[in-house]
């Protein structure tokens, strides 16, 4: 028993721990929603390149998952999320965000419509009490599936080939489709990497069998199990937000005004004004044209990742900070997500700089790196959306 799966430490093994533990050379574990999760299993580099060039398996079972069922489920969920949930057909899944009454984002996640009156919400933050509040007065039932539903993310260019070899024919599955491929096993074409990828959902106790089936099927032999660090590089490349890092889930903040609106997070496209009332709508309507800050995707000058750097306007006035930063091996550029105050963005060409600290053989120095805002994700391969997908 390693130190990290000692129950006395408060972390418990997830459904795939017996598979992950023998693969771990780094022994770099961390706590994810109470479960022992790998930060790195082998090395970040091996795992990242497996993910981008072949396929990677990542255990997403610690995600919080909730089932909302009943004739009033659609109305209740539609009052909660900013998008129009009525447009999500059974068999489809959509990325959603939901706000508090002040229009500040509580969390984001994926909303699956399993059947007409049967929904599943997957998100990073615990959301049971919120969902119970959100469904109060509606004919809907909330079930917490966080500890009974396991999930495996299979991502990367060969992921379709792996599934095919494992006996699943998903050639007609489009992005954001999902279906129950076998009794008790649901596969969705979703992921957190911006690449071709799938997520497999099954009962907690069936996770090992599904894992083994994929593991043994890999036709190219290059698939790896990965930890969160490799995934994190990929999600920054895709321009996805991480809760608690790129935005502050408002229920987890104690200080005033730390919440952010969907507009401030670049999620304004998900706000549907036409569908009727949703939580925070009235507050959001007031501030729709007045973001206090914006979350930008930026190209950072130089090679040093701008992790934890402050952002300055004209190299002098503090104007925000970097939330996520990494050297993107695939895009071959130094990329970051940055929160920048609205005042610094008024000009057509904002003059933004990140203050980066460098250490060279014991000597610390400070360097201003130019930030160039970019539209769209840093990395978006066409294969991610191609149907039927390539086997590569």
């Amino acid at each position: 028993m390693s130190v990290m799966n000692d129950p006395a430490l408060g972390l418990i093994p997830g459904p795939l721990h017996d598979r992950l533990e023998p693969l771990s050379r780094a022994k770099a574990w961390y706590g994810w929603a109470g479960y022992i999760a790998p930060a790195v299993l082998d090395t970040v580099e091996f795992e990242y390149f497996a993910l981008r060039n072949q396929a990677a398996l990542f255990d997403i079972s610690p995600m919080h998952t909730y089932r909302v069922t009943g004739p009033g489920a659609l109305a209740a969920l539609n009052r909660m999320v900013t998008r129009d949930a009525a447009k999500i057909a059974p068999g489809r899944v959509a990325y959603c965000a939901w706000c508090d009454e002040d229009g500040m984002v509580i969390d984001d996640g994926t909303l699956f419509r399993l059947a007409e009156d049967d929904w599943r919400l997957c998100c990073q933050e615990p959301m049971l009490t919120w969902l119970l509040d959100a469904t109060w007065g509606f004919d809907a039932t909330v079930t917490d599936e966080s500890d009974t539903l396991a999930g495996i993310a299979l991502q990367g260019p060969t992921s379709f080939a792996v599934l095919e070899a494992a006996g699943f024919d998903l050639s007609d599955m489009r992005p954001f489709d999902h279906r129950e491929v076998e009794p008790g096993l649901r596969i969705s074409r979703t992921g957190f990497t911006g690449d071709l990828g799938y997520e497999l959902w099954m009962d907690w106790n069936d996770a090992v069998a599904v894992w083994d089936r994929l593991w043994d099927a890999d036709p190219r032999g290059g698939m790896r199990a990965i930890g969160s660090h490799a995934l994190d590089i990929a999600r920054i490349e895709a321009g996805f937000l991480a809760a608690g890092i790129d935005f502050q889930p408002v229920h987890a903040t104690e200080r005033l005004h730390r919440g952010q609106t969907p507009f401030e997070l670049g999620l304004g496209w998900m706000v549907d004004w036409t569908k009727g009332h949703f939580n925070g709508r009235r507050a959001l309507w007031q501030v729709r044209d007045r973001p206090r800050s914006r979350l930008l995707r930026v190209d950072v000058g130089g090679f040093k990742p701008a992790r934890d750097a402050l952002v300055y306007h004209a190299k002098r006035r503090a104007a925000g900070h970097i939330t996520s930063a990494v050297w993107s091996p695939t895009a071959k550029r130094n990329i970051a997500l940055a929160h920048v105050k609205a005042g610094a963005l008024d000009r057509r060409k904002p003059d933004l700089w990140a203050e980066i600290y460098t250490a060279q053989e014991g000597r610390w120095d400070r360097r201003m790196a130019r930030l160039t805002p970019l539209a769209g994700p840093f990395y978006k391969p066409p294969r991610a959306r191609q149907t039927p997908p390539a086997r590569t």
Binding site: A75, E101, W136, H277, R281
Partner: protein
Amino acid sequence: MSGADAIVIGAGINGLTAATVLVRAGRSVCVLEAAAQVGGMANPRIAHFLYNLSPLVRADLGLGRRDWPFATHPLPSVALDPGGRHVVLRGDEARLAGGGTPPEANAWRDMHARLTRYGAVLRQLAEAAPPGLEGGLTSAAGLKQMLRLGWFGIAMKRLGRRDMREFMRVLLSNAYDMILDEMPDGPLAGLLAADAVRGGAVGPRQPGTVLSLIYRMGHGGAVSLPAGGMATVTGAFERAARDAGCRIETGAQVTQIVIEGDAVRGVETADGRRFDAPLVLGSGGAAATCALAGPAHFDIEAQRRLRNIRARGTAAKLNLTLDALPEISGLPADLMGARMVLAPRADYVERAMNAAKYGEISDAPVIEMVIPSLTDATLARNGGHVLSAIVQCAPHDLSGGWNDAARDRLRDRALAALAEVAPGLPDLVTEAEVITPADIEAETGAPGGHWHHGELSLDQILTLRPASGMGRYAIGPNGLFLCGAGAHPGGDVMGLAGRNAARAALGAEGGR
């Protein structure tokens, strides 16, 4: 299908007031009342006194410049003592019923003066919408808010340094300690403690009860009986509304508030009719009003607060018909028409309230009663007298539920308690009507059968009334307003909530 500029749900005092204010501002208004008669909780079977009816409301309703269009009889208050040493209060003067001055007389005079002064300060806050500075200081409305807060500050300063300090000291405190700091426990202390918690679900030792005592003293604390009973009052309000041009329909139960495009479009009634209006004011409970529109139109947090509003009525009404006038030992006949309070000690009140915490009827209830037929002969029935009593505690959520046996139990306990001071009374009763908080809720829609549609406590007053984020009458979609006792400043047959809500609605026209 028919239309109006505004629809008011419920024709209680607040509903009628709101409607009249709107109609006098030139709007066409339709009031829909579910019951067969107007009046709501000011119904003569439920209410019996006036002590906070606002002159501002009278002016805004055009009910008379100087006085109400009905006579009122100011009544002395008698703190009943089973030992026969009843204390009689007339304003700040306390005397013994049998003659002489009780030892608490001086303490009472001082306390009365103080509480009345404090009441006048707080009344400023009650008479307008709760303060809020959403508009900022750049808007006219924001500036007005600031001015009003300024006036409140000036009123506080005017109290003088010592009084202001004392005001701040006792305001959040409990009535029990404040009273017993000044006087020994006895009938007078008991009466004050009972007044501090009447209608509420707390004992006098609960923090915040000083505030509710001061609240009752907002207009000097004098109690009066309207000539002809409460029916005169509700009749006057109804007439004011009708004379102004208001349409009132009784027996019209609203089943749905119609919302389209985040704005009110009208209401539907149980008989399938639809009334179109861009403005709807609900005088029922806040949660009930929102439920009529449906949960989809309100924010999740607002809904959570609405269902956590504490509204647990503990006061039952007992209406007795008597063969003859009862005798209360030690009380002269000319005082039999007074407001009488059976709460021999402050301690007694606390213990009576204990029962309510556990869903029980008090063994020894606190009773406020009056024999109105003595003051107003028109109220006598079949040659005998009527006795109107408010009995606490009889909690809304009685364990085992309210049924005939429970009603009888309440009646018997009240009569047993009254027999302590009026031994012959039980034998004179020919008819007894018990109206429990559950009955009050069923008849009037008041949540929990609570007098104020929600406990008047520190966490549920001013901008927090009925709950945080909805303290300025508007709630949810455009055009929806709360105008009942659940809104600031509460019930008490006062009319201010309705008046303030109507003014807020007029101010909000043209979009928020």
